[in-house]
Symmetry: D2
Subunit: 357 residues, 4 copies
Amino acid sequence: MTYKAAVVGAAGFAGIECARLLLAHPSFDLAVVTSDALAGTPLAKAYPAFAGATDLAFRANDEAQADLASCDVAFLAVPHTASLGLTPQLMAQGVTVIDLSADFRLRDPVVYEQWYGVPHTATDLLARAAFGLPEVAADQLACAAADHAAGNAVLVACAGCYPTATSLAAAPLIREGLLATAGAVVVDAVSGVTGAGKKATERTHFCFADENLEAYGVGTHRHTPEIEQILGLEGRLVFTPHLAPLNRGLLSTVTLPVVAGTAVPSAEELTALYESFYAGRPLVTVLPAGQLPRTDSVAGTCRAHVAAVPDARTRSIVAVGAIDNLGKGAAGQAVQCANIVFGLPEDAGLAAVAVPV
Amino acid sequence: MTYKAAVVGAAGFAGIECARLLLAHPSFDLAVVTSDALAGTPLAKAYPAFAGATDLAFRANDEAQADLASCDVAFLAVPHTASLGLTPQLMAQGVTVIDLSADFRLRDPVVYEQWYGVPHTATDLLARAAFGLPEVAADQLACAAADHAAGNAVLVACAGCYPTATSLAAAPLIREGLLATAGAVVVDAVSGVTGAGKKATERTHFCFADENLEAYGVGTHRHTPEIEQILGLEGRLVFTPHLAPLNRGLLSTVTLPVVAGTAVPSAEELTALYESFYAGRPLVTVLPAGQLPRTDSVAGTCRAHVAAVPDARTRSIVAVGAIDNLGKGAAGQAVQCANIVFGLPEDAGLAAVAVPV
Amino acid sequence: MTYKAAVVGAAGFAGIECARLLLAHPSFDLAVVTSDALAGTPLAKAYPAFAGATDLAFRANDEAQADLASCDVAFLAVPHTASLGLTPQLMAQGVTVIDLSADFRLRDPVVYEQWYGVPHTATDLLARAAFGLPEVAADQLACAAADHAAGNAVLVACAGCYPTATSLAAAPLIREGLLATAGAVVVDAVSGVTGAGKKATERTHFCFADENLEAYGVGTHRHTPEIEQILGLEGRLVFTPHLAPLNRGLLSTVTLPVVAGTAVPSAEELTALYESFYAGRPLVTVLPAGQLPRTDSVAGTCRAHVAAVPDARTRSIVAVGAIDNLGKGAAGQAVQCANIVFGLPEDAGLAAVAVPV
Amino acid sequence: MTYKAAVVGAAGFAGIECARLLLAHPSFDLAVVTSDALAGTPLAKAYPAFAGATDLAFRANDEAQADLASCDVAFLAVPHTASLGLTPQLMAQGVTVIDLSADFRLRDPVVYEQWYGVPHTATDLLARAAFGLPEVAADQLACAAADHAAGNAVLVACAGCYPTATSLAAAPLIREGLLATAGAVVVDAVSGVTGAGKKATERTHFCFADENLEAYGVGTHRHTPEIEQILGLEGRLVFTPHLAPLNRGLLSTVTLPVVAGTAVPSAEELTALYESFYAGRPLVTVLPAGQLPRTDSVAGTCRAHVAAVPDARTRSIVAVGAIDNLGKGAAGQAVQCANIVFGLPEDAGLAAVAVPV
């Protein structure tokens, strides 16, 4: 059995990656891809990777409305706020929405307005949105799957890229009670340039990104409250994102103080703790003690690699997570969430490994 | 039905890519991967892309001999000369050999000795080796497939990376009789650094390869006679390979003088000619007139993109081919050849498209 | 003694590099840098490399007119056609013009119109323009220097980046009479992305340039007639430019058929010929036989490395030139030309070597 | 007046960069460059950036001993422990030693043995070694300069790359008393691959470094005690170094908890504090509030860019420093220290700015 799928806003990097994954998916049929900017353009013209592989073309959203309404699932790869209007409309038409945008991630509309600078205009849906980070928020997706199995259109708000890598790296420690009750949790994360989006700007210009490292958005990045919400770290997270000269890949390094009165675990104990936490999860791999995640080992995939290293000297633990920001950090995770909602194996269509070199 | 497969010499870049493709292949079961240098090491340790995806480990060639002999097919990703001994032995055991090395590519052992500096010690197999470049040398592979269907172990000598990109770009013109009867055919090709192999040397050191362009092996590269043989260009090929700072990708730019007495075709005529030449070939895509191949559109895949542009002013045609040097240029093509020999769809397990960005 | 200098159009890549060189020059005082787009912006804000090093700010061209008129020399780093109007005006005010644009490079206004698509509106200056490629067109610059010494404002039309690398590589062979009288001269050249300019476009987007190789402008690049003019190759040049993922660097590979009746010279003979041709020229270095130019060895400098390799088998010579497209290919050469015109050592302010790694 | 200088161990990346700087220095004459591995090889052959610029060749250390002894200053770019023997010997011959290695950085030989795994065998020199980080440890260099002016050979132990960027970023805050009395100081720093050295290994292989981000040496990197010593942070530093795909550049992001009872300063207050701290220092530039350091703005130079951003929400300050790991992080700083010792302007020969793009 196959399901009819759409990608709304498919011209951008997350959207087109979503389209790529769906085109090769065993259970979703990609029927509609929309982009007002590229309406009428074949995917293969805008992204020649598709040359010889698909004749699909981008369609204007208005023109495609009837076809969208007939889909089983729509992946929204739109800028924040755009989803606030689209989602209720699609759900009313019985279409399950997998939202890659930030619009339904934060539970509290006040926090949303604080960080995004605009009021939330679909607050009634917030309670219905399952958070899309399967390995860390399994219950919500299970509820959504049950709801969907009962014949309802459901809504998944997929986690952002930095929150995904950071939460996968830190969640086992925090859930296990190893985090000190006070003191900052410091996240320094580095992203490839696809994370900056498709728009041609000075920031994304090759000559300003190549051979350069920089921090940005210190103290102000919108993923901050999202990470705090996932990990229960309100007011304790110092999050500094960085940009480095590569296309795909996101490495999050999380430094956490260990709770008083507990011995700092050994590397092997940490590995065992992580393996237990992620047991049965096909897309998160805990590396053996002594090995650290590399982004090139997950590039182009929906996989995450994690590891944690104790620093007894300072009573800290350094946890590291590596993902592809467009894979497990966006489109791949969206498809993984859809798999779960539709009762498919969570890694259906997502099992590919990275090119080894 | 599935076939038991081995990769011999799997620690190198072409070998490990071959292993990756076979692990996901619908009809080949990867049973044995050998490497004397890494014997005992899990693939996932040497190449962490495999972490969480396979428990296979490299085995020493000696130790794996019995298992190799029981395979239906062995992919040899070994340095040249190593294949001269291995191939007869495996074929005698009934194992079909897909040779990624240069040992059986050149028909004439004199030419082999001239360019490789060592005598050919398995000349009796030369006549039996099918040349592994399916879209350009279809007949030989068809014979091999028939031979294999009759129950025989066969040998395929897969084309090299530069010969593949160059031949795919130029073959339609030459086969169509558009090449002048005299004058050099100039091939300037640029490869990513995976083409220089896994060995850590000054050439492959990041700091000497990054932000650098260079030509190498001018007039002496061993792919020269191979290209001349494929295209019937004996003594007319000026081939200059270059290195550029990227991992995977090979672009070959071929400049050919147009035969006297013929109008130089238009871009559209050339496109039509190419489309006709490659009709029915799923892994070679002719780009529409006005579009030129980009290596990132085929990176990580077994696909090739080609285009040809007329330059009436100089009565020349510039043909361009883009491949992944480890994909269509090595491991992917090897699997494609195996598919053909085993009667499978030629793109079985090879249909993936590149990440769009 | 110092001279007052201006850079007009300094916001772009060639202009700002020119500003950098002049700020450190022993004999030119950079007094004015203009950019209408960035008027009022400190150089250090637009290009933070200057932070802590200069307080200069970009000025609007109109506002700076009086100061421009008082300069001894103006470097024009403007788009083609803009120079057609600016140059006569500045020269009338007694300002020597070093033009980095294409407006006065081509002797024949018909050819200019053919390739640039606009009529030439300052044809009277064409005969007065010295071509700015000192090692290949020394006489014209010598005349300009004499003219300038006599108190006149002079005009130098600096060579383009591809013509510079290509001509430096090929000129000794052609001037020596080694080129066959018929047959194409094939130039495949590869440029870093700074060559595509500062404008943020899909072409210059990191994610479309990184890990990619492509050819562009086949048969239509505007440097074609410029190279033909310099080398006397009318109608014989097949020039294909390529883009590779690096910031600065341009490698030109030139394949030339050897004239009939002459033995193809040995590598050592070619090296000797080149060394003789470039004797006394501090900024062009002939590499020893067996060594080939690398762009990273000249990046950030005004230097060029050249070498030529014989291919007796095909009666061809492959000549290779490496430059920094913004250095010897643009701003550095402009300053070199100014040095000559003002009677300074030609490498004054330009002697820096590249970082070794 | 000029001084005779030597670089010992000049074949590596820091050594050859030192040679480049000295070759262009107004007051040091580079007389001797040694390398046992490359003895007899011209610099221009090993590093073609020098082609056409110098005829110097590497010499064996033994063979060069007499010439070394006649130098005014020797820059030691040798592996740790090698300097323990060389330094006393050179100083006994009256040669001032600028040591780029780690051998004399740590005051306490017990700490040295703990982190470097070997006993310190020249402990008597530890007290005489001036720490080479001029903007943070000015007094020690002033003493060394006075000592040198009195006719004595002196010893400078130049700071490491990570300690330099980190200390320049954090010192003003800590010296000003803004750091909380407890809680970890977290340093996540990212280096380009030249930081991994010249040796060709899997780590420095282009294909394993390109398009990859990774952390390494978590909790164990030898720069940890050095940073703690400089900043007075014994036992409080969690230092995680990372590798990113660029040649030169090091970005250090330092997260510090603000002392209780003090308002977290504003961005403008922090900028003012930093500007005051670095007043009169030509090679450290404090960026205006709102601007963050980029490594490409200091690549190839001896400059550092720093900035600090308050995060009142978490009562933290994030301080960022950017340097070229081989420039201000190694060879440039060594020359800066030598300048100070010899009574020259501290930026003599070091004033170059980075290429703007």
